[in-house]
């Protein structure tokens, strides 16, 4: 039987007295694309950031590709596990977060060289392949400030892929983009899904969710309000909360 790529059990997150995530479970199978939607403040981004421990969960366990971490166990071993998980999980941010002092190529080769100790020449060859894959090879020597938002986000995706992750986490990757630039990023994400990448995507792009996702989740007030295949989820939601939300955004 196939083991889930991501296994989350009883995840809680508090910000001070604020209970943001209230004990959620999730299994994501290899090559599965899961889309999480929901109103702002529902905890979507926090959940995603808990997966690679950019936010330390308050309780619960996260297991990615066989590496399991129990929340709240500080120590050397814990930190080592976190770095292992982070190398397995690429992340794409809403604000791109490219390194402004490095060129597109420099952004991509940075982590393979420093973290994976990959030889520079090898990293460059790989980075050029990735740039070509996202359609930006001609921008290899441009600094981020000279790229459009869509181009920056595509470089950011390439940068995450350079670490050869097992899963990709997308945190509202198109929210900061001008409407006419969203398409080029979504297209790259679709191709990535088509190549069998395991993806967890927090997004408001309903089209992407409907066309590409294997499963859609509505998150509200720190819990899953509804979870199901997109066909059913979008056309025939079971929960009242989902209906309201979809009515709001469609």
């Amino acid at each position: 039987m196939v083991e889930p790529m991501i296994k989350v059990r009883g995840l809680h997150k508090y910000f001070g007295p604020l209970h943001v995530i209230k004990g959620v479970d999730l299994d994501v199978m290899p090559s599965e694309v899961v889309v999480i939607i929901g109103p702002s403040g529902a905890g979507k981004s926090t959940f995603l950031r808990c997966l690679n421990f950019l936010e330390e969960p308050s309780a619960g366990t996260v297991e990615i590709d066989g590496v399991e971490i129990q929340a709240g166990e500080p120590g050397r071993e814990h930190r080592r596990h976190i770095r292992e998980i982070r190398q397995k999980a690429g992340m794409v941010f809403q604000q791109f977060n490219l390194f402004p002092h490095k060129t597109a190529l420099g952004n991509i080769i940075e982590a393979p060289i420093t973290v994976k100790k990959m030889p520079r020449e090898e990293a460059i060859v790989k980075a050029e392949e990735l740039l070509e894959w996202v359609g930006l090879l001609e921008k290899r020597d441009e600094y981020p400030s000279r790229l459009s938002g869509g181009q920056q986000q595509r470089v950011a995706i390439a940068r995450a892929l350079a670490m050869e992750p097992k899963i990709m986490l997308f945190d509202e990757p198109t929210s900061a983009l001008d409407p006419e630039l969203i398409g080029e990023v979504v297209e790259v994400m679709e191709r990535l899904a088509g190549e069998g990448m395991t993806m967890v995507v927090v997004t408001h792009e309903i089209h992407f969710a409907r066309d590409v996702a294997d499963r859609a989740i509505l998150m509200d007030e720190g819990v899953w309000a509804e979870m199901g295949p997109p066909d059913e989820f979008f056309t025939n939601p079971q929960e009242e909360r989902t209906k309201q939300f979809l009515a709001h955004i469609l």
């Binding site: 770095r83 992340m91 941010f93 390194f99 940075e110 420093t114 600094y143 981020p144």
Partner: protein, 724 residues
């Protein structure tokens, strides 16, 4: 806008035709002046005549001055300094001497002639007899100096050919010819009875028997410490002036490096050495009693020395150029001097006061006449070219004319005009010699004001432009260049004004030139101290900033304490603590080390805060992106945060570096021999603090300008990721 597109304005508008006409007119006049000047024409800026040698008649009533235009001027002191003129020489008159009777004046000049003049005839204006009584030919070789024995029987000259000629004054025959002596042909001296003749031989002095021409004696310097070759007693450069004392016991010599030496003729040894002049010594002479030696120098000064002992006995300042001739005055306590500024001055030795001043001719220093003529010729030629360019609507014609008439007159007209304010003459006299300068200055100002007018300037901004956008761009560019030009001219004007004002108050340029190498010798230490302190400060600041940002109470506390303590106490106090207080607890530091530590630790504290702010300015997203890629906190800091923080802190850190370079002057108080220390030392020793500190200030200024330039380059380089 519409003006730009108007073709009639773009070529041959009324303004433009007028401008071309104005510039052509100006150039034509300038050329005329220049050409006639170099052809020896009559129109020339009033310049004074350089005095080359000076003599006082035995009765003390007449002063004779040989001048550069070949005229000997005689002033009758008793008759209110009435001037008489003796003409005959065709080149500079380099030597004059009165016969003991006072009835004859001997002169030698660059025309290679020795001439004898009858003084009574010269003084009697109504006399028809010839003033010139005899003319002796020295072979047409320019003569550089003349010496007459006290008894008047023998005369010696030295020429450009290096040959010393000894003449019998009765017969006018050369009785002995010595040389050629190639190494020094500047000065010659005869002892009182005319039996010995002395001339320089490089930095040594050779004495011959005047009758036989046989070498008699050689005077040479020596090392006081023979083995170590230290403390040279003697001249270091060639001998430029010589004189025997009235009793023939001593020989005085002056040299190109400014020393005057007194030699004992009996022992053939150096008796006393004196160092005073900052430039070459032009003449030395004993007064009638033989008690004092007088020397004149290229540093515009006359100095007086007591003969037994060679002690300094007075300095006489006032000449505006090199002093070329000096003589004992008509009274025991007076001195006469003449110089390249064309003045002859009588001084009182008791108060070092100027008693009387006469001009050979009223005018500017001769150099200004030359500069003005060169400017007229050069600007005339250039102006014609520019007028051609303007006629053909070329932008370079307009900008070139601006540069020419804005910058050129600063040096050729404004500077000489300012110089006349030094001259001890009345305003009406000033105007009478400087009027050509004043008129041309007013003309140039009017020309520039006209050139600056938009209606004129706009015509030239874009002759070749085809579109309005191109025209506007070209107009903007030309405007920027014009603006820059006027800013630069303003700077130049300020420099010239400052320089003139400082000179008016006695800024001693010769002194600055002399001590510049020594003071600048401290620049190395200054830069070393600054560089080491900057290095130390940067390291401390980096560590300090990490400490300030750390959550660990120990490191946070230490760095907080460091910053608070250092920023809360004066740098001066810190410097004293490092150097003077630490020895008390057993830590003795070398001055330079203490200075570097004090500066480095002090600036480290200030830079800590800058580094901290720079690091804090990096957004959280950068940390998250790096972490999400699996980078460790160390890698994140080194590879992602530091490079970005560094770029942010370059401007403020650069300012700190510049401030530190200047504050490095403070370590001079703990005896570090850097630039400021040396400036202070020399300034105090010589009471010339203005000169020495001006040098120091200029150095710091230039250093910071250079540093700012490189800082700008670095900023542009580092900001390449941010450019849009």
């Amino acid at each position: 806008m519409s003006k730009l597109n108007d073709p009639t304005l773009r070529s041959h508008s009324r303004e433009m035709r007028l401008l071309c006409l104005l510039i052509a007119f100006t150039s034509g006049l300038s050329l005329l002046y220049g050409i006639q000047y170099y052809a020896g024409g009559p129109l020339r800026l009033a310049v004074t005549n350089e005095v080359r040698d000076l003599a006082l008649s035995p009765d003390g009533n007449l002063v004779a001055a040989g001048t550069r235009d070949g005229v000997i001027r005689l002033w009758d002191i008793a008759h209110n300094w009435t001037m008489h003129i003796l003409t005959g020489h065709t080149g500079s008159v380099t030597g004059v001497a009165f016969a003991p009777s006072g009835a004859t004046l001997f002169s030698a000049g660059h025309d290679g002639k020795v001439r004898l003049w009858d003084i009574p005839t010269a003084l009697n204006a109504g006399s028809t007899g010839s003033q010139l009584t005899q003319e002796w030919d020295a072979g047409g070789v320019p003569l550089n100096d003349l010496a007459l024995a006290s008894d008047g029987t023998t005369l010696a000259t030295i020429g450009e050919d290096g040959i010393i000629r000894v003449w019998d004054t009765k017969t006018g025959q050369v009785i002995q010819s010595i040389g050629p002596n190639e190494s020094t042909k500047l000065a010659v001296a005869l002892n009182p009875d005319g039996t010995l003749v002395a001339a320089g031989d490089g930095e040594n002095i050779q004495i011959w028997d005047a009758r036989t021409g046989e070498p008699f004696q050689r005077l040479e310097g020596y090392w006081e410490d023979e083995e170590a070759q230290e403390d040279w007693l003697g001249h270091e450069k060639k001998v430029t002036a010589l004189a025997f004392s009235p009793d023939g016991v001593y020989l005085a010599s002056g040299s190109a490096e400014g020393t005057t030496l007194i030699w004992d003729m009996k022992q053939g040894q150096l008796a006393w050495d004196t160092k005073g002049h900052l430039g070459a010594v032009s003449e030395v002479v004993f007064d009638a009693s033989g008690q004092y030696l007088l020397s004149s120098g290229r540093d515009n000064m006359v100095r007086r020395w007591r003969v037994p002992g060679g002690k300094f006995a007075g300095i006489f300042k006032g000449h505006l150029g090199s002093v070329t001739g000096v003589a004992a005055g008509p009274d025991a306590d007076t001195i006469l001097s003449g110089g390249t500024d064309g003045s002859v001055r009588l001084w009182e030795t008791i108060n070092n006061r100027e008693l009387h001043l006469v001009w050979t001719k009223l005018g500017l220093m001769p150099i200004w006449g030359t500069v003005f003529a060169a400017w007229m010729l050069g600007s005339g030629l250039l102006g014609i070219l520019l007028a051609w360019g303007l006629w053909h609507v070329r932008t370079w014609g307009h900008l070139g004319a601006l540069v020419l008439y804005v910058v050129g007159p600063l040096f050729t007209v404004v500077l000489p005009l300012l110089e006349t304010t030094f001259y001890p003459i009345t305003w009406s006299t000033r105007l009478s010699i400087g009027w050509p300068l004043a008129v041309s200055l007013v003309w140039y100002i009017a020309l520039v004001v006209y050139l600056r007018q938009d209606t004129v300037a706009i015509t030239y901004q874009a002759p070749g432009a085809t579109s309005l956008a191109e025209q506007l761009m070209a107009a903007r560019r030309a405007q920027n260049i014009r603006h820059g030009l006027f800013v630069a001219a303003t700077w130049l004007l300020i420099f010239i004004l400052l320089f003139s004002i400082l000179r008016r108050f006695g800024l001693d340029v010769a002194f600055m030139r002399k001590w510049l190498p020594f003071i600048m010798g401290g620049a190395g230490v200054t830069m070393y101290v600054s560089a080491m302190a900057i290095l130390l400060a940067t390291i401390l600041a980096l560590i300090g900033a990490l400490g300030r940002l750390s959550k660990n109470p120990l490191t946070n506390g230490i760095s907080g304490f460091y910053v608070s303590l250092i920023r809360g106490t004066p740098l001066l106090v810190q410097i004293f603590i490092w150097f003077l207080a630490l020895p008390q607890i057993g830590i003795t530091l070398e001055a330079k080390t203490a200075g570097i530590l004090a500066l480095g630790v002090n600036y480290g504290a200030y830079m800590t805060e800058i580094f901290r702010a720079g690091i804090q300015a990096i957004g959280i997203g950068q940390y998250e992106a790096a972490q999400a890629l699996g980078m460790t906190p160390g890698q994140t800091f080194r590879r992602i945060v530091m490079p970005q923080a560094f770029r942010i802190v370059i401007p403020p850190i650069g300012n700190e570096f510049i401030a530190m370079m200047k504050d490095s002057a403070m370590v001079s108080i703990i005896t570090v021999q850097e630039l400021t220390f040396r400036a202070q030392k020399i300034g105090r020793q010589n009471f010339r603090n203005l000169e020495t500190f001006l040098i120091a200030a200029a150095f710091y200024w230039v250093l910071t300008i250079v540093f700012q330039f490189f800082q700008g380059k670095l900023e542009t380089h580092m900001a390449r990721g941010e450019r849009r």
